[in-house]
Amino acid sequence: MSRSKHAGGFRNALKEVFSYKSALIGIAILLLLVCLSIYTIITIPLPEAIHAWRSSEIWSKNPRNAQPEWIEIFYGKKLPRTIIVSSKGINASETPLEDGKRAFSLILFFNYDYEDFPPEIIVFFNSSYSEKLTIDVYWIRPDGEEIRLKRHTLRRPDDKLYLSNDLGLELQLERLVESKIGKANFTVTVERGLFMEYSKTLRVLKGRYGIRFESVLNAGDTLEAEVVVYGLVYGLAGTDHLRRPLIIGLLWGTPIAMSFGLAASILTTVLSLIIGTISGWYGGVIDSVIQRATEINAVLPFLPILILLTTFYRIDIFVILLSIILLNIFSLGIKSTRILVMQIKSYPYIEAAQAYGASNLRLILLYVIPKIMPPVVPAMISSVPGFVFLEAALSFLGLGDPFLPTWGKIINDAYTHGALYKGFYYWILEPAFLLILCSVSFALIGIALERTVNPKLKEL
């Protein structure tokens, strides 16, 4: 049992693992995910990620349920991104009137050259006023035509003007369109009325649009406006129902899923190995207590108990991990470990060690466990996906860690908000794809390891 021979064996085993194509693919995917995790942890610190994931305020200028940008490939046309035009840095024209009042006029221009209509348009005001402040809003089309949209009285200094769900405006635009092209054979929504080309077929009129605000300000009043024309696509991963960029959750899900799966599988495997060894080594009362414990564990319903624990106690991911480990260590694997240990106990080298007075602890840790560890490693790696999906399943049931963004939580959000029925494919498929990528990589490595460890499987 010299050290060098041991290391050589290990090196050979590694070499053999690398000779399997499936293992190589698994390792490549795994490395990719590890790099992604490291990148995530460095670029988005956890507190920041949690804050970003839990506050809906900061995302108000993101589109709701926007698809990822690359989805355009499937549509074959340029889909609108979100356009934000702010009055900051743009000088509004102000003409003095009598008694200190000023006539205020501000035009915000933006280019629109996408091939679909935006889903939503909101104007964010930022103002200070002493009395009522009423604003007239005009729309300027690329062909120069100007449409008076509406008169809006601010209800508070940071009021918002939602153009999209304004039924009066919709009716007005419908009449306008009818006067231009006759009865349209499509419904005229606010966005279509504003951005369409006046022709019988529904098409976007590309070009430079403007939105003009006119008002009369009292002395000391200020008015700023920001127009947000929401897009249909957003970033690499799209957004969810709370306008959050999914990429944050997807990125952070990676280290969480991997470390959770690995921690659960390693701790469960090692602890149950130790328990099995103790059972086989000492025998007697200890053995029978442990055997009874595995029998009790076999009829303890694992998932329902976990659900019971997570509902009755406020718990985070570490308590979940701990409960999973505790409920798994007295598994059936203990029986086979125990039998193995009973055989090893009578091996000559153990007897020799006993003869020179080695303690039980030393014997177990240095001579028994290293002997029975190798066959367990493949099973350990293969059990990682199960734990990764278990965490996802708990999150899917709404039982995960209350703060962390995880893949399971995104799937849960998507599912409960009808992504399956409304066709928000990306919302479910992105986290599912990552879950699958992560678990399949471990499975590929596990299966290859199993072949190298189990000589009977080698030729098959």
Partner: protein, 354 residues
């Protein structure tokens, strides 16, 4: 006629399992009551029952509110005593244990059974057949599918299909509920040919045959999700297992004798591997109980798992505790039945002690 040793074995196993069940349920009760939750549940249940009785009793109608309250208090105290609820927890917990083991699971806070009862036992028992109908069926289908497929692949070892199956084996780490989501996306959202969830069309068809067909249609996707999830690894591991056994000398001899492959398979490969196969099957059945929880939620299938998810979202603690107890019972019964089957198949156990 069953040998005496066999009966003795079954009695012994039943006793061991029953003890395990009692301890498992007791552990569950302890876990649930760390925060005093079961106490509160039972007490709240008692108090509402008594209050409702007094309020609705015309004999007390003439009393003032404070007088009524007094009566309620005395009745409540005596009820606590009668139920042993004012005893210290170690003793009290034994009362709970007895109630749980006899499936006296108390009343739900919000959920009701389809027949309108608030009894947790009735609510759960109403859902049990649906879970068995779907998941036990699909586990059995999977078992035979993988067994036969494994035998066929072992015979065609090294062929193209064998290699494809080996390559696809890692896809089985993806659990059924994830495949379920994909299947809903494809067959409902995209193709619109199968229902996304539920057990029967709404409104349910009156004609029993049409009703049956409707249920069958709703069963396709959840079953398919489990079949796909279990298929490739199941085929692969069965095939590998059979291959290892078919290199044994006695199988070679049988082949050399010129026995047809089907006979070699059934007599010399399948027979000695049966105990391990049964173990695999029992693990699958046991796994199906908890796997069903999430799959039922995805497919909105009205079984035990969906009920648990509902109880969880409300939350309805008595139902959650009740479900834990029912699952413990189910596990115990499953283990017992499979032990019996195992003993029946394994001659060493049958002869042992007889």
């Amino acid at each position: 006629m069953l040998p005496k040793g066999f009966l003795k074995f079954i009695v012994r196993r039943s006793l061991v399992l029953l003890t395990s069940l009692i301890i498992a349920v007791y552990i569950s009760i302890m876990l649930a009551n760390f925060g005093g939750l079961i106490d509160e549940m039972v007490k709240a249940d008692l108090l509402t029952t008594i209050t409702m009785n007094i309020r609705n009793n015309p004999a007390y109608a003439g009393l003032t509110a404070s007088e009524k309250q007094k009566i309620i208090d005395t009745l409540y105290q005596s009820a606590l005593e009668a139920k042993g609820l004012n005893t210290p927890f170690p003793i009290r917990s034994l009362y709970y244990l007895k109630d749980s083991l006899t499936l006296d699971l108390g009343k739900a806070l919000y959920l009701t059974s389809d027949s309108g009862s608030k009894q947790v036992r009735l609510i759960i028992m109403e859902k049990l057949p649906q879970t068995i109908m779907l998941f036990t069926t699909v586990t059995i289908i999977n078992f035979f599918l993988n067994l036969l497929g494994g035998l066929i692949l072992a015979r065609r070892y090294g062929s193209k299909i064998d290699r494809i199956v080996s390559w696809l084996a890692p896809t089985s780490v993806i659990p059924g509920w994830v495949y379920g989501i994909f299947l809903i996306l494809v067959f409902y959202t995209w193709l619109h040919i199968l229902p996304p969830g539920g057990m029967v069309d709404y409104p349910p068809p009156k004609d029993p045959f049409l009703y049956f067909l409707s249920v069958l249609r709703h069963m396709i996707l959840p079953m398919l999700s489990w079949i796909i999830s279990g298929l490739f690894l199941g085929l692969y591991s069965n095939r590998t297992f059979f291959l290892i056994f078919s290199t044994e000398d006695y199988v070679e001899v049988a082949r050399a004798k010129g026995l047809p492959p089907s006979q070699v398979d059934s007599r010399y490969v399948l027979r000695p591997t049966l105990p391990s196969i049964i173990t695999g099957f029992s693990l699958a059945i046991i796994g199906s109980w908890s796997g069903a929880i999430i799959t039922e939620t995805v497919f909105d299938w009205p079984g035990l798992g969906k009920l648990l998810a509902q109880a969880l979202s409300l939350p309805d603690p008595p139902v959650i505790v009740g479900e834990v107890v029912i699952y413990a019972w189910l596990l115990t019964l499953t283990v017992l039945i499979l032990d019996v089957v195992y003993a029946f198949l394994d001659p060493r156990i049958k002869v042992w002690g007889g």
